[in-house]
């Protein structure tokens, strides 16, 4: 078994009378893709919002196991979760910096390394060697990811001018440029056609094999979820109703009930709209 990277224990998030996430516990392992699925409104994105510091959980503990020691995410400020705990995230809707170039989007993700190297800006202004080296490294890393997502030729175009599918991949590449240990992807396949989703599968499994990081995935596209997940957690009304390998989950009666409303044999979970 691979080592546990993220441990979610008794996570509960209440908004007034509404319980969005109810006593949820699960673990995500390093080098594995853990999918969180469930019907709309099941609380998936709320889990991500708790992980990345948007919400303070009402109850619960979110432990990230770093080599240096465990960190409690629920006690950290938003930007520190990215900077220190190294959790990266994408959103359901695209949130690139549309008026920066494709390359700059990737370089800005390496801000903290560059800021330190620049001695807080003065070094950069006078072109000190230390900053130039750091900038060179940042550039190389960015180019590596540009190659992987096949956007080298568009490096100097504004990110907002890219086609939708390219913007999606650029977002993931940008998240990877922050050098994360945990990558949280919120519906990365939303709006992609079947061919693009297949490419996304390859891209994500590639990241898993090469970078050995943990990936948390929220997705409705079952071809993606079933194709690449190592472990699936199913939520409904904020509660965990099932978890396990793709094979177990897809045969679980509770999952089928949540997705289709009534028991039915051999049904593959589909999106409930």
């Amino acid at each position: 078994m691979k080592p546990v990277l993220l441990e979610v224990e008794h996570l509960t998030m209440r908004f007034g009378g509404l319980i969005a996430v109810d006593d949820l516990s699960f673990a995500a392992r390093q080098g594995e893709i853990t999918a969180i699925i469930g019907p709309n409104g099941a609380g998936k994105t709320t889990v991500f919002n708790c992980l990345t510091g948007f919400y303070k959980p009402t109850v619960g503990r979110l432990t990230l196991h770093h080599p240096a020691g465990p960190l409690l995410l629920e006690q950290m400020e938003g930007f520190r979760i990215a900077a220190r705990a190294r959790v990266a995230r994408t959103f359901q809707n695209i949130r690139l910096f549309p008026r920066m170039t494709v390359l700059e989007n990737l370089i800005v993700a390496q801000h903290n390394v560059l800021m330190r190297a620049s001695g807080f800006t003065l070094g950069a202004l006078f072109g000190l060697p230390r900053y130039r080296h750091a900038e060179q490294d940042a550039l190389e890393r960015s180019c590596l990811w540009l190659e992987r997502i096949g956007l080298v030729t568009r490096a100097n175009d504004e990110a907002g001018s890219l086609p939708y599918g390219d913007q999606r991949r650029l977002e993931i590449a940008r998240a990877m440029c922050t050098d994360p240990v945990l990558l949280c992807l919120d519906e990365p396949a939303a709006g992609l056609n079947p061919r693009e989703s297949a490419e996304l599968n390859q891209f994500l499994t590639g990241i898993r094999e090469r970078e050995k990081i943990g990936i948390l995935l929220i997705e409705h596209d079952m071809s993606v979820v079933m194709g690449i997940s190592d472990h699936i957690v199913v939520l409904d009304y904020g509660k965990r109703i099932a978890s396990g390998s793709p094979g177990t989950v897809r045969r679980d009666p509770a999952v089928i009930r949540a997705y289709l409303g009534e028991p039915e044999s051999d049904a593959v979970p589909a999106e409930r709209t």
Partner: protein
């Protein structure tokens, strides 16, 4: 012709000062979408620090003019940046995430507070400064008119050009500039990439205040007088400059400053001195009516 040239020189000098102040407005607007009405007062404080620093230097008998100016610039930038940082910290940051009008009202309050604070501490009377930089070049001479370019004008224009080039490089090339542009487009996403958004915003205020301080020192050297009220007028004009150039746009602020300076100088020269402010603000109104995004601003496309 000679008269025209002289007014152009005066206008460019004035415009350089407005441009420096306008950058502070435009950067803050770009990054958090508010008009920092206390920015004019920050500039005024820069001018006061300059007067005080010059008199202290004179007491110690430092007579070397370039050295004195450098020291005064450094002192003014440090003090004024501290004011800029503090204003953001106590008057705007607690209101971030509040409704849009709240920081604006807070800014107006801050502006009034700073004006009165300086008036109480320094008195309401005009503070004079002995001319520090004197002399100049004669560019053109005809029978009845001499076109002069004084050393102080050269100093102002050169300083502004250097600062603006440095500043453009900072925004385009450095990690801080990149972070500022990222924050300008999406604060939340910037934070998720590990950028310390609060610090980036604070630094934006500090940088803007630093530039305003330089403008304040220059204006003190140029006119030789300051009072607690100069920030209000200069602030409004620099704000007009930022809007004219397209608020949020850095080259726009520089261009707008220059244009406002030229309009003011030419209006005063060819029409009436009394109504020169009227001309400036009439331009502001016309721009807002016919081209709300300014000369170099990008149109705000509302996405549905």
């Amino acid at each position: 012709m000679e008269y025209f040239l002289q007014q152009a020189i005066n206008g460019i000098t004035l415009g350089a000062i407005y441009g420096l102040v306008a950058i502070g407005y435009t950067m803050v607007y770009g990054i958090i979408g508010m008009i920092n009405f206390a920015h004019g007062e920050i500039y005024m404080i820069g001018a006061f620090v300059a007067v005080i620093a010059f008199s202290i230097l004179a007491m110690f008998g430092i007579a070397n003019v370039p050295l004195a100016i450098l020291i005064v610039l450094a002192v003014a930038v440090i003090f004024t940046s501290a004011y800029g940082w503090t204003v953001e910290r106590i008057a705007y940051r607690p209101l971030r995430g509040s409704f849009r009008l709240a920081p604006l009202i807070s800014a107006i309050g801050m502006s009034i507070f700073l004006q009165n604070y300086v008036q109480v501490l320094q008195g309401a009377r005009v503070k004079p400064l002995q001319p520090v930089v004197t002399g100049g070049l004669t560019i053109m001479r005809s029978d009845h008119f001499t076109v002069a370019l004084s050393y102080i004008q050269i100093l102002i224009i050169l300083t502004t050009v250097v600062l603006m080039i440095g500043f453009s490089l900072l925004i385009a090339r450095t990690a801080l500039g990149r972070a500022q542009r990222a924050c300008e487009q999406d604060l939340t996403m910037a934070a998720l990439l590990g950028i310390n958004v609060d610090r980036t915003i604070s630094l934006t205020f500090v940088l803007g205040a630093g530039l305003a301080a330089v403008a304040g020192v220059m204006v003190t050297l140029y006119y030789g007088v300051v009072d607690f009220y100069i920030g209000f007028q200069a602030g409004l004009k620099a704000f007009a400059a930022a809007v004219l150039g397209g608020i949020g746009s850095l080259p726009g602020a520089m261009l707008g400053g220059l244009l406002i300076g030229l309009v003011e100088a030419f209006w005063a020269a060819y029409f009436t001195v009394e109504y020169k402010d009227l001309a400036t603000f009439a331009i502001l109104i016309l721009v807002l009516i016919f081209r709300p995004t300014g000369l170099l601003g990008r149109p705000d496309v509302e996405k549905v």
